[in-house]
Amino acid sequence: MEKEKQKSFIDKIWDVFASVKMAVVIFFFIAASSMVGTVLEQNAEPEKNIKILTKMLGADAAPAAYTFFDRLGFLDMYHSWWFVASLLLFAANLIICSLERLPRVMKLVREPIRPIAVDHIEKMSIRKTLNIKAQHSKDKTSNLKERIESAIRKIGLAPKESLENGAQYYAEKGNYSRLGVYITHLSILIILAGAIIGLFFGFNAFINLPEGQMTSVAYKDSKGTEVPLGFELRCDNFEVSYYGDSDMPKAYRSWLSVFKDGKKVKEKSIVVNDPLTFEGVTFYQSSFGTIPDSAGRGIIVLKAVSKDGKSEQFNLKVGDKFTIPGTSVTGQITDFSPALTFDENGKTRTYDENMKNPAVFVEFSGLGTGPFSGWVFKRFPQTWNLPDGSRLEFMDVWGVEYTGMQVRKDPGVFIVYLGCIIMAFGLYMTFFMSHRRLWVGVTEDKGGTKIIIGASASKNKAAFEKKIEQLAEMINTGQKGGK
């Protein structure tokens, strides 16, 4: 008695989950709450959302609305317990709905096609009747059999024969396509499973790593919660390139080295869309910037090339002197700007703190033509030439920029990708493959042979109908009709 009651309770829950109503409710809930989540900025400072709410509801209602949404977890809603729970309910609904319907479909898939009664053939959604006159059918039924079978083969199906109650030829194709829906459903579950694995066994963090520095940790949040990497990462250099003369970045690149137990084990330069991976941890180029209070502390890398091709590289600071190799020409750096521009009066001005257009002012002596000085720009090689034919190349300003990287470890990502591949597969089966079935019944009629063709397709009936037309044509006229 007790047992029965319990079972019926489980049955009831099962039925609730197997119902379409449940699916509609969950769909609606996830969609509606997600909409709210896209309007409110997630994980943002309170001011931002209060501003949004003020815009929508007015200044009076905004603080109360903010408290309301905060209490319900809408400000980090995609990680709130109720949203995760709704996703899990969705998964449960998907599993139970699929299990409920799967056995029936499996039976349809597994059961091979059988001959059916003639009056059933006539009721198929695609049907066709042919009458072959007596003198034709005289040339033996075996000839007709061959003709039908080869016609079926010509439209891409493998015929079987049955001789009970008159001859019947039947064939089917793509019976597995009915499973496409369930493969798609399974792929959603695999993706969710991969996401959960990533959530529990992976991490998302970031590092702002200055040029020349090394780190063994990344940071999970703005409070500075550390995540150990298990190895050390050094930023050797960072560089931004621009489109032409504009300040629009074309690429930002970091040169990274990985050290394990004090030894360099890997080296790679990364750009956006091309990360570095080591021991399951991946580093993505995401931002860059200038180290605060670093003005004037950068190392200016210059390469002096004399007119007969001798060159030497110098690492300098403002105030330092250097000599162009093989000559008595000396230069001194007297000024530096991270982003130099000329205003309409020809006066120089620094327009940004970041290294947008670095330039050094160099004063030369010993050129023979008298004192010479001028700005040398890193981005504009035409400013590198000196009057005596030698050249001063501005290579880099080093040690004042940092590279901003996303750091991720996610052992679930391969499972997510696997799920995606399976989903593509399942969708293809569901929408582009069809279960096609065909029966051709042969009955002796007075004065001839009657051939009844019946067929069905689970999808794209029109295309199969055309094939059946071809089939009928081929049976009717012999081999000539085929293509």
Binding site: S34, G37, T38, V272
Partner: protein
Amino acid sequence: MNSSFFFGLSTIAYIFAMISYIAYLTFKNKTVGLAATSITFVGVISQTFALGLRWSEFAELGQMGLIRAVPLTNLYESLIFFVWCLMIAYLIIEFKYKNRSFGAFITPVAALVLAFIDISGMSKNIQPLVPALQSNWLLAHVMMSFISYSMFAISFSTALMYLIMKTEKRTEPAYIFWTVMLAVFVLVLSAMGLDYISFKLSVKSQEELIRSYLFKASFRSSSSAVAVLSYTVAAAFIFFVWRFGGALRKLIAGFNISHETLDEITYKLIATGFPIFTLGGLIFGAIWADQAWGKYWTWDPKETWSLITWFFYAFYLHGRLMRGWKGKKVAMVAVLGFIAVIFTYLGVNLLLSGLHSYGAQ
């Protein structure tokens, strides 16, 4: 000759095509119909040419290979590409179903989009790619997304036509649904047009117009009299469409197209668009996000809205197989699905903020 010449030519062709399709519907003259199809065809050819030219112009400017220089990186380019997909999809349907009646519905959409581009004064310049967009995934992800959007757009109009044909009583929920939807659609477009006329001089960009001045000339006007008047006019208009919607049914009934065909076209478009959207929009998008940002899913507004859109169409596909949902109810879902598409495409970029903010430039 550069791409803008051919874009201009295609715009003119689509406007003439629209006039011809409407004339065809009015006079039922075969020659006019044939002319409409030919003009549309010329428009598509010229636009194809323009797209190819812009592609190579872009490759030259951005100094990169052809695969990466996809001209689909801002609002202008994406709208142009959307129109192109829409017209091709339309021509395929016209050819397959041997029916020109939809032309009078689809060509105005194309003309409206092209007019929107011109009056809004959005930037038509080629902008070099920001680092995040320099990826081979751009081609597959954006192109497949827009191909599916154009299919959803046509399914929206066929579903709406289906609803118009199938509803007879004014008290019927489906009747109320489509009349209100249609009225709101027209009202929103008119209110935005009013915003544009009133504030075009005080804003610098289309983005600013929508972000700061949306409905400020009507519903959200600083003068309460204007606001009240706007709401009254809107209510009156909705009532008008509801009261006289039957006239539209009589018009569509004259198209000699059956509601079964409309239902079939809606289904076939969604059944093709849905897997393309899933693969190109969601899956390729996730793979690309994983490569560029280190996260395959961040619940960024664009991602979330595409998931909502995906839910709507998944529900449509399941709903067709459910007792009591086939017919009018799923047609309503198809209409709502496209509203989600519009929001995913435009609303997110113009109204919300997030990682996917390229399109608003």
